[in-house]
C-alpha cells in the first residue's frame, strides 16, 4: 500500500529542470530509501512533497488525498514531518524549547497556555531521551555539536507524532557511533508504524536500513525495488558512475 504517491511532477528553476515528470510511490509503514546522483532532484522532491516549494505541474497525494502545493504547516498537520540536508534547528532556543515548537496547538486557549505544560514537558523529555539528548534539555540549541543538532532536528519532528518522516541525508557529517544511534531510532519508530523516506548518499546506510529503495536520475524515477535488487541494477550503476553497463551483466 502506498503512503505518498507523486505523479508526473515537474519543477524548474529558470532553465534547470529539477523534476522532469517524476512519478513514484512510497510504501506505507516501510523505510523507503531515495537515492540518486547529486542534482537528480531528491531534495527538490522532498521540498515539493512537504510544501516548501510549489510544483509547476503534477500531483502529490498522501494516502490518496491530494496535497499538491499545500502549505508546509498543512502538510505537517497531516502527519508528514521532515528534516533538512543542512540541519535546521532554532539556534537561540533551548533544546527543550526546540522540541516544544513542534507541539503547537491551535485555538486561543491552547496558544495562551505556557509552552511547557506538565504533560507536554513529560512527552518532550521522553522524545529527547529517545535520541539521548535529555541531559542537554536546558542548553541553548545553537551550542550543540552538528551531530547533536541532527538528533535534535529528528527529535523535534517526532514530538508531533507524525506518521511519515522524510529524512534528508541523516548520515551527512555524522560519526559512525551517532549514525548507529540514528539507525536504531529509525528502526524503533518504524516498528511502531512510522513510515520513513530517507534521502542518503551513504549506500551502506541505505542498503542496511531500507526495505524499499527508489532511484532518481535527472529529475525522474529510474528504478525501484528491494535494496539488493537495486544495488545490482546496471542502470543504477550507470547513473552513479556514468558508465555504460557491460553486456551480460
Amino acid at each position: 500500500m502506498s503512503v505518498i504517491q507523486v505523479t508526473d511532477l515537474k519543477k524548474s528553476y529558470g532553465g534547470i529542470r529539477a523534476l522532469a515528470g517524476c512519478s513514484m510511490t512510497f510504501e506505507d509503514k516501510a523505510i523507503n530509501g531515495l537515492i540518486g546522483p547529486n542534482g537528480s532532484g531528491k531534495t527538490t522532491l522532498f521540498n515539493v512533497i512537504t510544501g516548501y516549494e510549489t510544483a509547476d505541474s503534477g500531483r502529490v497525494s498522501l494516502r490518496d488525498r491530494d496535497i499538491t502545493n499545500a502549505k508546509p504547516d498543512f502538510v505537517f498537520a497531516q502527519g508528514v514531518g521532515r528534516t533538512f540536508q543542512i540541519t535546521r534547528i532554532f539556534p537561540q532556543l533551548t533544546v527543550l524549547q526546540n522540541v516544544h515548537v513542534a507541539a503547537q496547538r491551535q485555538g486561543f486557549a491552547a496558544q495562551a497556555r505556557g509552552w511547557d505544560s506538565a504533560a507536554e514537558r513529560e512527552r518532550a523529555m521522553e522524545v529527547l531521551d529517545f535520541v539521548g539528548l535529555a541531559r542537554l534539555a536546558p542548553e541553548i540549541a545553537g551550542d550543540l555539536s552538528y551531530g547533536q543538532q541532527k538528533l535534535l532536528e529528528f527529535a523535534t519532528i517526532t514530538m508531533a507524532g507524525p506518521s511519515v518522516i522524510l529524512l534528508d541525508e541523516p548520515a551527512g557529517g555524522v560519526n559512525p557511533s551517532l549514525l548507529r544511534h540514528i539507525s536504531d531510532r529509525i528502526r524503533a519508530l518504524n516498528s511502531e508504524g512510522v513510515t520513513f523516506i530517507i534521502v542518503e548518499h551513504d549506500m551502506e546506510f541505505v542498503m542496511r536500513l531500507c526495505d524499499h529503495v527508489l532511484v532518481m536520475r535527472q529529475g525522474s524515477a529510474l528504478t525501484s525495488g528491494a535494496p539488493e535488487q537495486v544495488r545490482s541494477d546496471p542502470a543504477v550503476l550507470e547513473a552513479y558512475l556514468g558508465t555504460e553497463p557491460r553486456e551480460g551483466r
Partner: protein, 362 residues
C-alpha cells in the same frame, strides 16, 4: 549511546549552568523596581523631575509594546510612530469632538487609543508582513510617513499643520505630573505583564521560532502569518496607548510630533541598548536613556543633540555588548559560572588522578 557519551560530543557545559539569574532574584528585583517606581515621584516631587519621569513612563510603555513584536519576532519596525500618532489623534479628536473637559476622563480614553491603533495595524500589518528584513524596515518607515502626510492634509479631520490643542487638566501645581506618571506606570505594568505572558506562552514560543527560522517554524505547524499579525497588533496597541497618554500631557497634537521618526529611532535604540527580545531590556533602556535624553533636551534646548549622544551610545553598545546590556551582563555572569564549574571539575579530575597514582605506587 548513553546521554553522557552524547554530551561529550558537543561543546555544552560540563553541568547545566542557568542562562538567567534564579527566579527568586528576578522576581525580587522586579518587585524592588516596582516599589522604587511607585515611590519615585513622592521622593522627588520637583515638577521638572516628575515631568522627565512621565516621559520615561510613556516611552517605557511604547518600548515594551515594540519589543513584543520586534524583539520577539525579529521583525524590526522603524515605523511604530504610526501607532504612536494614531493613539495621540484618537484621544485628541475624541476630546475635541465630544467636548470633554481636560481631566480624569482623558485617561478613560487610553484603551480606545490602543484599540484604534491595533485595529488599523491589522490591515497595515497584513500587507507589510509579507516581506522581511530590510524591505520590511523600509516599508514600516514609509507607512509612518504616509500617515504623517495624511495628518497634514486631512485638515477637516486632523486640523492639519495647525494641530489640535487640548484642554488643560483640572489639576495644577506640583501635583500636575502625578496622575500622568501613575497612569503611565500602570500601563507599563500591564504591558510588562502581557510581555511576560507572551514570552512564556505557546504563542510566544511560536514568535521566537519565527525569529530563528520562519520557514522551519511554518513547516512545524505554526501559523506564522497569524502569529506575526497578532503580535504586531498587540505591539501597536501599547504604542497607541503611549501616544494616547502623551497627547493630553503635552496638551497638543501636531502631525510632525505625532508621527515622529525620532520616536522610532529612540524606541529602537533604547530596546537594542537594553537587550532586544528580553523582558528587562526595554525597561532598562527606557529607565536609563529617556531621562538622559530629557536631560540633554533641557540642558541644550530644543535641538537634536540627544540623537548624537544616542548614536555614540549605540555604537559603544554594539562594539562592547552586541546583544545589549541585559544579555551582555547575563552572558558574562554565566561565563563566570561555567569557568568556575570547569575549574571545579578539573580540580576533581586532578585529585582522582593523584589518588589513583598513589594507589598504583602503593
Amino acid at each position: 549511546m548513553t546521554t553522557t557519551q552524547i554530551a561529550q560530543v558537543g561543546a555544552a557545559a560540563p553541568e547545566h549552568i542557568p542562562y538567567r539569574p534564579p527566579r527568586g532574584v528576578r522576581y525580587g528585583a522586579t518587585a524592588g523596581l516596582l516599589v522604587l517606581l511607585i515611590a519615585f515621584p513622592l521622593m522627588f516631587p520637583n515638577p521638572t523631575v516628575t515631568s522627565i519621569a512621565v516621559f520615561t513612563m510613556i516611552y517605557l510603555v511604547a518600548a515594551i509594546g515594540w519589543n513584543i513584536f520586534s524583539g520577539f519576532s525579529g521583525y524590526i519596525s522603524i515605523g511604530h510612530a504610526a501607532y504612536y500618532g494614531i493613539g495621540q489623534y484618537t484621544v485628541a479628536l475624541i476630546i475635541i469632538h465630544a467636548g470633554l473637559p481636560g481631566g480624569w476622563d482623558t485617561f478613560a480614553l487610553l484603551p480606545a487609543a490602543g484599540l484604534v491603533a491595533a485595529l488599523l495595524s491589522i490591515p497595515i500589518g497584513w500587507l507589510l508582513l509579507r516581506v522581511r528584513k530590510h524591505t520590511f524596515i523600509v516599508l514600516t518607515i514609509a507607512v509612518m510617513f504616509i500617515l504623517q502626510l495624511l495628518a497634514f492634509n486631512l485638515t477637516d479631520f486632523t486640523k492639519g499643520s495647525g494641530g489640535v490643542t487640548l484642554p488643560f487638566p483640572t489639576w495644577t501645581g506640583n501635583f500636575f505630573n502625578m496622575p500622568f506618571y501613575y497612569v503611565g506606570l500602570l500601563c507599563a505594568v500591564v504591558a510588562g505583564a502581557v510581555a511576560w505572558w507572551v514570552r512564556r506562552s505557546k504563542f510566544g514560543l511560536g514568535l521566537f521560532a519565527i525569529r530563528d527560522d520562519e520557514e522551519r517554524a511554518r513547516g512545524l505547524g505554526i501559523k506564522v502569518t497569524r502569529t506575526k499579525l497578532i503580535a504586531y497588533a498587540a505591539s501597536a496597541f501599547f504604542v497607541g496607548i503611549a501616544g494616547g497618554l502623551y497627547a493630553p500631557f503635552v496638551g497638543s497634537v501636531y502631525p510632525q510630533f505625532g508621527f515622529d521618526p525620532n520616536f522610532d529611532l529612540a524606541i529602537a535604540v533604547l530596546v537594542f541598548v537594553g537587550g532586544i527580545g528580553t523582558l528587562s531590556g526595554p525597561v532598562l533602556g527606557a529607565l536609563v536613556l529617556i531621562p538622559l535624553q530629557q536631560y540633554f533636551y533641557l540642558q541644550f534646548g530644543n535641538g537634536n543633540l540627544y540623537l548624537v549622544a544616542y548614536g555614540v551610545l549605540f555604537i559603544l553598545i554594539l562594539r562592547l555588548l552586541p546583544g545589549g546590556i541585559v544579555p551582555g551582563v547575563t552572558n558574562a555572569w554565566r561565563a563566570r559560572l561555567v569557568a568556575r564549574a570547569r575549574a571545579r571539575l578539573d580540580g576533581a579530575g586532578r585529585t582522582e588522578a593523584s589518588d589513583a597514582g598513589r594507589k598504583a605506587r602503593a
